[in-house]
Symmetry: C2
Subunit: 202 residues, 2 copies
């Protein structure tokens, strides 16, 4: 019971909050007045609930992209890292626009990276040039490539990194000097000015 009350202080799940969470996905917008009317409270109350949850960093509105519609490839990289490398991975890839998720796990591996590339060749290039070259202390690794994305697979994309005005990538290299980029095997990093793939900002 204590576990439950503690949880409720963080995220109270009642019909009103549920409706707040749902409305954005259902209608693409949050309409304070409408939700308020439906639940017999004022629009200001809805606004406060919503904004407080965001301010307290409990929820985050976001735009997810349907990766099934793009012709992108996704991959999961399972890593067993030595202690030193372990801390560094998150730092290195914290702002990488290709990394969708990065988390520590317990078990056969201790870190997971989920990333995307523009096509299958690029998966290989990214894996070799961006990752293995950059990472130290990898004891073991395993790559799982996503198969056909038949259903709609919506994932977050780091739009904040797509400005494409920086000389260096967020992970600290420069595409200009990368073999794969020079040979034309790689579109480059979508966060750098050298990028020339489908995510190029027009």
């Amino acid at each position: 019971m204590d576990e439950i009350n503690k949880f409720k202080k963080i995220l109270k799940l009642d019909r009103i909050n549920l409706e707040i969470f749902r409305s954005l996905t259902k209608e693409g917008k949050i309409n304070y007045s409408k939700i308020g009317k439906e639940h017999g409270v004022s629009h200001v109350s809805i606004k406060n609930r919503y904004e407080n949850l965001i301010k307290r960093n409990i929820i985050k509105p976001n735009i997810l992209v349907n990766f099934s519609k793009l012709d992108f490839k996704l991959a999961i990289l399972l890593l067993e890292l030595e202690t030193e490398g372990y801390e560094r991975v998150k730092d290195t890839y914290f702002n990488c626009p290709r990394i969708i998720y990065s988390f520590n796990i317990i078990g056969e591996y201790n870190h997971v990276l989920v990333f995307f590339a523009e096509n299958l060749d690029m998966v290989e290039t990214i894996f070799n040039s961006c990752m293995l070259n950059n990472l130290k202390g990898v004891r073991k690794s395993n790559i799982l490539i996503f198969g056909s994305l038949s259903e709609n697979l919506f994932l977050p994309l780091n739009f904040n990194q797509l400005d494409q005005q920086n000389e260096n990538t967020p992970c600290g290299v420069c595409c200009k000097f990368c073999k794969s980029f020079i040979k034309g095997q790689c579109f480059g990093c979508p966060a750098s000015k050298y990028y020339n793939g489908p995510l190029k900002i027009t």
Copy 2:
């Protein structure tokens, strides 16, 4: 070049669309007028761009939940399924409120499920009672448990399934008859009327 033009027809990335995508995360709302003013176009134009991308199923606004703030546990289940079971997994868990992601992969395993549970004991219970009991044709499985979620980890939660008014779970069982539930080892399925954990709607 053709690859890039094909992509642009699906998702045109210019400064305006980028700003549309960013604004929701930055400000929690999409303000057509404001974005329009900033980019020298009318609010109607912004509205149309946004609504068309949603209607075409390219993007989906969503509320992500900060799992680092909740005391929930996350796990990745890697499965090697026989052809017959392969098709069934997606169907069975399509509406499961605990499943965050489900996708086909190529490699050592052919399917991945990412799910959450209220605590570590529940991970075990879900794995045994909900999954292994329900799945046929599993040749090999591997479970990876998430470690400490030090950073903020925002993931989507299926709020549409949290009504808690159904006798049966979306995967087709009834908690009332489940051993783990009867013994009090399990909060039950958050989609069913029997659920009594922290996600209980008040």
